[in-house]
């Protein structure tokens, strides 16, 4: 009690009020450091874009191929001057689509379970498992596709139908690979749905399932769409799985049980150290990379757009 009394009496003894600006060097240093980090990431991105454009320009400038051929040709075989990206693009689309067909329902189911159903204990077990799943190197997934998924598909559909290297197997494993991504992003979106909406539904006599599927999921739909788009860009960009299990020859086919080669798979095979640095084959992989970059860039723009809309939904 006495001390409080003293302090209340103290103001008279306080030193004169000083509102002058003070130098705080550590603040400045930290600020500069953080700024530099931001700048570096921007420059790295710009650098990558620059290299992609530069090398692609060389490719298109070689006179051996023009953009129309590049976009519409149906054969990709650089060694004989065939540069039609369609077979690579189609294969990328098919594997990604299969991947999404696997990842979307499963990822969403996991997200709904985690966000709406799981007890804290179940969450405590399941979330780390998902994180482990997300942390497995993709090359392991690649061998998983080759040595487990492909034999499984062959035993289901027959070895005559399913080729040893095929898009289905790679696609399914890509799906498994991105489940954690879809699940965690969707779970964030679901958890962000206000509790009051759930209570409103329960208050009307809705079951848990009705509440989850008819109220929470629709309310989180924009966030889930964003997760799906990020998942698609991940699937499109996935490399090791397709390099190991989908095949090593570009082929224009819609049959998921046939082998083909995706854009990323082709890049990794060709850049495996076998090409002369200034050959057109070598430059061609940059044009593929640029094409990929444009795709993922567009997907990112779309996802940003969707996420922005998502914020407007329930307030």
């Amino acid at each position: 009690m006495q001390t409080t009394l003293k302090t209340t009496a103290a103001p008279i003894d306080l030193p004169q009020l000083d509102l002058h600006k003070r130098r705080r060097p550590h603040e400045i240093i930290i600020q500069a450091f953080l700024f530099a980090c931001g700048i570096i990431s921007i420059f790295v991105t710009l650098g990558i874009v620059f290299v992609l454009f530069q090398e692609s320009l060389r490719f298109f400038g070689s006179g051996e191929v023009n953009l129309i051929e590049f976009l519409t040709g149906t054969t990709w075989q650089p060694a004989i001057g065939e540069f039609g990206i369609l077979p690579l693009f189609l294969s990328t689309i098919i594997t990604s689509l299969i991947g999404m067909l696997v990842a979307l329902p499963l990822g969403l189911a996991v997200a709904i379970y985690l966000s709406e159903y799981a007890s804290p204990r179940a969450r405590g077990i399941l979330k780390p498992i998902l994180e482990v799943l997300a942390g497995i190197p993709t090359v392991v997934y690649g061998y998983f596709a080759l040595t487990f998924m492909t034999p499984l598909l062959r035993s289901l559909f027959g070895a005559d139908t399913v080729q040893i290297y095929n898009m289905a197997s790679g696609g399914i494993v890509i799906g498994i690979l991105i489940i954690p991504l879809i699940a965690s992003m969707s779970e964030d979106a679901l958890s962000a749905v206000p509790r009051s909406l759930r209570e409103g539904a329960y208050g009307l006599g809705a079951t848990k399932l009705e509440t989850s599927l008819k109220i929470v999921v629709p309310a989180a739909l924009s966030g889930i769409s964003a997760a799906v788009i990020v998942g698609i860009s991940r699937a499109v960009g996935e490399t090791m799985v397709v390099a190991l299990s989908v095949g090593a020859g570009p082929k224009l086919t819609f049959n998921p049980f046939e082998s083909a080669e995706t854009m990323t798979g082709h890049i990794v095979r060709i850049s495996g150290g076998d090409l002369s640095y200034d050959s057109i084959d070598y430059n061609s992989i940059f044009s593929i990379a640029l094409f990929l970059f444009v795709i993922t860039f567009l997907l990112n723009l779309i996802s940003r757009f969707v996420v922005q809309r998502f914020r407007e939904v329930y307030d």
Binding site: G61, G63, L67, I68, I80, A248, G249, S259, R269
Partner: protein, 371 residues
């Protein structure tokens, strides 16, 4: 505001792509020299092997001027691996790779303490690293060096010296369940099987099943691929290597991989598959694959020795006298390689070069060291 900037970015991308599609004035790729320059290494004689590059092909022997030095062979100094220091960098053919690796392992077993790197990147890339970027001390190749590569080497002041280390037979393999090729194939049939002219087996031979042919080939920059084009495809297409290559590359269901395991797995996995690669890989996987007779001859040591197996080819390593002088460990390793290669080569799965050829290589080393 945000949307505008996004569209501006998109427009820029489109604009750049559009400008890129206009044909530019100066092509960046140098046209292939249509003929080899006049002054070529004597070893260039082996650049165009015949369809059956038999082992004893005299054109592959080293410089004729080395002949009087035959007695000097005993003079190749013994290498004390334990005394050798310094690193060795090699890269090249995936076919030569297992052999070089076996030799390196033995070199290290016998006391060598430095680091020896062996990259398996294909003959073309290996020679590029050796001749263009000059990153390596030794290039491994499953074909002879090309004149254009010799030129690149000279441009960076390197003079490639060729050492013949053995012979590889190319194995053409099919799935064990394949029964229609038990009698083997002819080179002509093989060319057709691997060409765009046939989609199904029946299109090559009506007696064969009407199933699609699934083709597995080493990548376009590997020496094995080049050799296959040269020895199988080219003869079937008016001796035009370009046509032959095109016929193969335009074929459907073609998988090209530098990774021989991809090929092994592929052929193992499908009864309609066919593939080819170095005999060593076949031997490692002999339980899962079937090697075909070519023109009635199965790949074997005796057939290769007798020169009857049509798809046998030489294996080389290349180095440069100056490198060997600057880095004695490189010379020592090559010396060691040539001395003991025939003790290891069987285990690796290739066929030993004949004594005279190997002696020629040792001679080349002596000469190079003497410079």
């Amino acid at each position: 505001m945000k949307h505008t900037s996004i569209f501006v970015t998109l427009l820029m991308i489109v604009a750049i792509i559009a400008s890129a599609c206009a044909p530019a004035a100066q092509p960046t790729t140098v046209p292939q020299p249509t003929q080899a320059p006049a002054k070529v290494e004597p070893t260039k004689a082996s650049e165009q092997p015949t369809a059956a590059p038999a082992l004893a092909d005299p054109t592959k022997a080293p410089e004729p001027t080395a002949e009087p030095a035959m007695e000097m062979l005993g003079g190749l100094p013994m290498v004390d691996a334990g005394a050798v220091t310094g690193d060795i960098v090699t890269a090249g053919s995936s076919t030569v790779y297992p052999l070089s690796e076996a030799m390196a392992a033995r070199f290290q077993d016998e006391g060598y303490t430095g680091n020896i790197t062996i990259d398996s990147i294909g003959s073309g890339a290996g020679l590029e690293r050796f001749c263009k970027t000059g990153e390596t001390d030794i290039a491994n190749a499953s074909r002879a060096i090309k004149s254009s590569e010799v030129e690149s080497c000279r441009a960076i002041d390197r003079e490639p010296v060729e050492f013949r280390v053995g012979t590889d037979a190319l194995a053409v393999v099919v799935n064990p369940e394949n029964t229609w090729l038990d009698e083997g194939v002819t080179l002509e049939e093989l060319a057709k099987i691997f060409s765009a002219d046939a989609k199904t087996w029946a299109e090559v031979n009506p007696a064969w099943p009407a199933e699609p042919i699934l083709r597995f080939s080493p990548g376009t920059d590997s020496g094995t691929f080049d050799y296959f084009i040269e020895a199988v495809m080219t003869p079937a297409y008016n001796k035009d290597a370009k046509l032959g290559e095109e016929a193969l590359l335009k074929a459907e269901n073609l998988q090209l991989s530098e990774d021989d395991n991809v090929l092994v797995q592929g052929v193992e996995g499908d009864k309609n598959a066919i593939g080819y690669f170095g005999y060593a890989y076949f031997q490692e996987n002999a339980d899962k694959l079937k090697a075909l007779k070519i023109n009635g001859v199965a790949p074997s040591g005796s057939a290769v020795d007798a020169g009857t197996y049509p798809l046998a080819r030489p294996l080389f390593i290349y180095s440069d006298p100056k490198i060997m002088a600057e880095k004695p460990q490189v010379a020592d390793f090559i010396n060691f390689y040539l001395t003991f290669v025939n003790e290891e080569i069987d285990a690796v799965g290739y066929f030993p070069a004949s004594t005279s050829v190997l002696n020629g290589a040792k001679m080349a080393l002596l000469i190079a060291l003497g410079q």
